[in-house]
Symmetry: D4
Subunit: 231 residues, 8 copies
């Protein structure tokens, strides 16, 4: 059988969308991921592979030793040499310690694109003082990424405390009727705090991309349309 080119990277996504094509790792073979990384590197874009399981991850790390593989959040990334530090205060809050892998996925994505987010872990609403004592940090954030599983109440309380954009990330933390994170996701979509937006379950990466879209728009205006990401 003739060999089919199985990977077809979207190499001008950076100029269109403000971030390059990142690689969805789950279900891809080692060969497919290797091929995609090579294409992206040729383009001088930073490399990010999400949801990359241990077995393939370790082999990829061995092949690209300048990259970092974090098994806990299943992320592999290679920073671009031209990366710069962007302004923009992004705060990532988690309901519990168990939500951290998702928060790290967001954090690595943002850092790869030149942002320096602050992480406030374990601030769930069952001990609301932990959240309230950070009210000022929250109100001074340009964007808040709120990561929570179980009943997903965190973004509602944050949304009521601040005027900042809040991106809610449901996680699959919980069991039984948490329905693999659907309960948190549905709760966030029905927040009584107005103007909360939501991404898929465990999608820390998507929340980071949404934040980059917002900050890109903001920065590109202030900075005379200069591109946000390293070229």
């Amino acid at each position: 059988m003739k060999k089919i080119k199985e990977v077809n990277c979207d190499l001008n996504r950076n100029s269109r969308c403000g971030f390059p094509e990142f690689i969805y790792g789950e279900g891809k073979t080692f060969e497919q991921i290797k091929l995609a990384i090579c294409e992206i590197r040729k383009n001088n874009d930073p490399v990010l592979v999400t949801r990359l399981d241990r077995n393939v991850g370790k082999k990829i790390k061995k092949l690209f030793p300048d990259g970092i593989y974090d098994e806990y959040s299943r992320v592999f990334f290679i920073k671009s040499k031209k990366a710069r530090n962007n302004p923009g205060k992004i705060t990532i809050v988690t309901g519990g310690t168990t939500d951290l892998p998702v928060a790290y996925e967001a954090k690595y994505t943002l850092e790869l694109c030149g942002f320096s987010p602050t992480l406030l872990p374990d601030s769930g609403v069952a001990g609301i003082h932990r959240l309230l004592e950070n009210t000022e940090i929250l109100q001074n954030s340009d964007i808040i990424i709120a990561v929570a599983g179980m009943e997903g109440a965190l973004p509602s309380v944050i949304g009521g405390l601040t005027a900042s954009p809040v991106i809610a990330v449901p996680t699959n933390v919980g069991y039984g009727s948490s329905l693999g994170g659907l309960t948190a996701m549905f709760a966030m979509l029905n927040s009584c705090a107005n103007g909360i937006t939501v991404v898929n379950i465990n999608n820390g990466f998507g929340a980071a991309c949404a934040a980059i879209r917002m900050l890109n728009r903001y920065l590109s205006n202030r900075l005379s349309k200069s591109p946000l990401l390293p070229k």
Copy 2:
């Protein structure tokens, strides 16, 4: 066709369960409800019909003019003459104004059984100060009934603020992915605050009965096993 006796009231429920048989009004004909009320009155129990729609409700009110029919909460009730005032601080909190019919269903049930609950409406988590300024009332309550729709976050925050028993009542307030109240219900069942218990969607009546079970137990111990409800 021979006439079947369609209603078979459980007339000794009061002595077994601490409250008499109440009547589930939805889907019952006027004749069936009338028959059930008559049996219960013969037994000298207080009468409560829940989920009773307007058409039948008005006819029942006309037939039993000493009863009260509240169309807003769809409740019909006739107080027993031997009702007494029971101790016990019960607080009913609602997330929004729209949750009130469910809160009233709980309130009427409790009042019929001799309790005097306090109602704190419109205290949702998007304006958390409204809840926090009532912290003392909540902490002094023997039982808190927390009624909320949408994302159902209210009981989680209350549960973290107090040591009191919290009975969570999800409501069908919301739309789309609120799933007719399932989202609030699932959220409450997955509360990160420990020890929250939950009843069916819109089941203010059930929450009241659960509160009565708890207070009955408490009172019967202190009051030498005397029955709570009027006989």
Copy 3:
């Protein structure tokens, strides 16, 4: 029975969140809505009631003749006299004509808060040229609100064409396995275009509030922290 104050408006929400308390109309009685409007007007905030059905809507319009009631989108609003025109290019795109009530809900909310969104109706992906011929408008938008029912593919295509923030609003347009809009909502949450965020089904209002959060942040920075909304 003593009269309970059923409405407890969160009158400092404007200073905390950048928009005042708006009123969720569904399931509220005429009296409750009237009371809420009066409180908000006393506070000199603009008035917005969403999901307000015809019967109550007409009575509210009669009582507050300076307001506008749009039966098609079920929105009632009264502009504040101090409203000003805010900068910010917001584009609202709909998949089909049938999605328009939701788009109008977003449009009215934005206009009430001083923004002037552009509306591009009937641009679904089954005639992709209709979308592609507006690529420049989309790429020049500060925020895009993409409203679609059925398979909800619109935000994915837009997200791939632009670097702007995209807020996806699923609608209940469709039947059978559209599951009242859940299919569009799930599809949007699983968009292969990165960084799309999603609000509840038919929640044009929520999308507008999310846009206001983003633009508020942007404007408050550029405009030396001056508040966005009229006080």
Copy 4:
């Protein structure tokens, strides 16, 4: 990368809620659990880790040899030296033998807080005599925790036999349309016995906490507000 403090224990929960922060073990790393246990012990609170899988459980047990790890119910706990014996008759009933791990989770939680529950296993409604012959025990209980999977009918029958508070715990015992315990949970939420409250699937721990909230309230009243749990 700077090390983030990933665990942020809520160390005054005992005074607020009547029980200390317990640790949700699922999805936490060995390091995170170790850190949390250390913080709680410094506070002199009893330690409870739920849903702790075998691999991590065994390492934790090795590190804290004064604790007990029960692999069957996935619970690890360390009793506080100041534990005392509280009054209060709590009965835990299970539908089948297979529901026992959940019942043990409840039992260990209660014992850690100084209560001495009675366990009646394998009393499902298909052999109703097994339940009826324990009617007196049930009626004399201050609280009944009813644990059942499959069709979840147990709490309905118990609720009809007694005036005591009944906390229903659905389990995931069953297969196919038992839907991982959702069927039992939905059934319990729709009990025709009034005043049954429900916790999440397999949440024996939560049922125990709810029981503690009730008994705490009762005891603190009778015992002049003295705190229930050891300090």
Copy 5:
């Protein structure tokens, strides 16, 4: 447009299945039902129309005055003149009064086929004595049809009390998480009592047909293969 013959009755179903083609009334026009009844009468079979709404039902009754239309259970039927009385003790039990329309649908179907079922209404498990005092009737039944909504526990208890075949009929009695009867249906399918079989929600008719299949088999053996139904 040429007229299509829209109804194509299966007129030899009686000889194949032991009961004739009955008519599913929901969604059929008056003309279609009229046509179907005429065909069945020409065949000298008894007529049964289920789920027939008021408007069409009244017109059908006017056209076929020898038939009976019961609006409560939405059943229309015309007895065959050759009907005979079959042996076989069938007991129909209902959980509550509100389940009666479904029980009547079963009862009419059985009576039309020559059986004389006994109806025990309002025997739900929350007052288990009401069921236990009928234990002997249940044990002497050739078939038990157990009709219940809400948590659907009735068949489990009956199945544990008797050796008779139990056909469980879930009803849509309940609200919220009763999910329109799905909760009762799932519960019955997961009964811990062995050998319970289940039909669709509200399908009293189907339960009756299942009973007829069983009794037909029994009778045809004893009565030398003579057909059960009138020809």
Copy 6:
């Protein structure tokens, strides 16, 4: 407010897709439908409005008296004068009489595009002889559209009898666990007969369009790429 052009017809769809833009009637206002019809007529395309409810339908019929409005299937259509008769044997089979509105929707769509389908109503699998006696018609069909609700078994049996393409249309005929047609739809998607394809619930229109796509391809090849539909 400036008037927005709410309808944006895709007037070259006929040349791209082989059929013109048809109008989805549900949820559109009278004005929107009128505007869409006018645009399509200017283009000399045939007009089809599906899912058009009685009130609007009657007004549209009055405005366009050369069109036909069939209330039973909720279809309005105006034939193009240049319509021609296309070859191609299409057979529409329904499980029951109650599935007919969906079958008619398919039939009208096909006829509008110049095809002459055969309709075999009321051929459900409970009387399998009714299907088997039409085996030859089925095997000689170029395309079979199988319309069924309830358990949706019809396409599986047809698919096993023939080599022709089978398009399965689930309907919402049924109640309870038919889940508004989802059960039939899921069943058809899981057919043990290979190569069955499925459209949305009640989507007779979509099945007809799929048939047109197939026949167009076939005809355009044989007929030297001449367009199928009238221009």
Copy 7:
């Protein structure tokens, strides 16, 4: 900790229900199953353990070498010495080969209780001739157990061919939208063939018990109430 007796066998179930307590193996420990088998054997009842996984199954077989463990259907059983051969023609039909483990579970259960079922495997509706050529066997069966996954159409076709009782057993054979067998189960519950009853997914055991209930009733009448199962 004091040892709790974790198993509480219902040893008079045979006299009440016509079959002894059988053991649900899933989720039970080796010790629990061993204990239950010992109790049942002391009672001289036949032993049946269902859903018993390989690891425990092999240890149980070693302990009770007179029993048979079938890994394919996960059944362990020990025949009673007093077993007798009961009359009654039971036919078990499966849609495909992959449904066989469920069919064997039914077969072993029936054989243990003295029946001799006939098994017709791989008779799915996609090759309907395979079913039709067995029409006579089906029509002569006292009970038919129809086992099928995927779209679950088998019982509908069988139900239309025969007057015998049909017990439908959905299996989890299939993938994707077969939803682990829910699709087959829902389809069977919505059968257009009247009088089909359904058990839980993969519940061959339950279907066998239902068959025993029916045949017991029949036999006990004919055989002067003598008990069916060996004592």
Copy 8:
């Protein structure tokens, strides 16, 4: 126990349906698959086993060394010697690289039946130019098989670009609210592009069979009814 013949191949399916009985591999034992292959080979039909897991697949390959086992798509096949090359342009498009196993299942099925499909991988709508640059290939295809997971938007865009039949294959690529492919499947069933048909999740095989049904019909007409597949 007497040995039952567990496999009952439908050996004349080729003449009835245009393709032979293929083997569903999942859940079958090695012995069952071996037996089925032997029967099919005796009939001189080509052999295809789908969803065949690694362990059994390797043993089958060893036994039938002239076959090919592709572990990636879980397909085993043995070409028939009489295979011929059929005309017909079939294009298989995938949204992403991760959808490839499903695309290969379709490709192998088509090739086994003598077709030569073209595969266009990784053409998702987030980089719509990748699809648009293949517009001509798509418009010249006799059939398009569109394979996509996540939001499943691909077939909608393709359906709007072409007049060809489009068979949509949802895949389980995605996580969280992709619901194992249900989201993509529901989206495809609700496509705003008319005339898209859908098969089960991951059912590349079924899509290929549907394509064969269509092409068979076309070819048999043009080629005087000569059978498509090798005999």
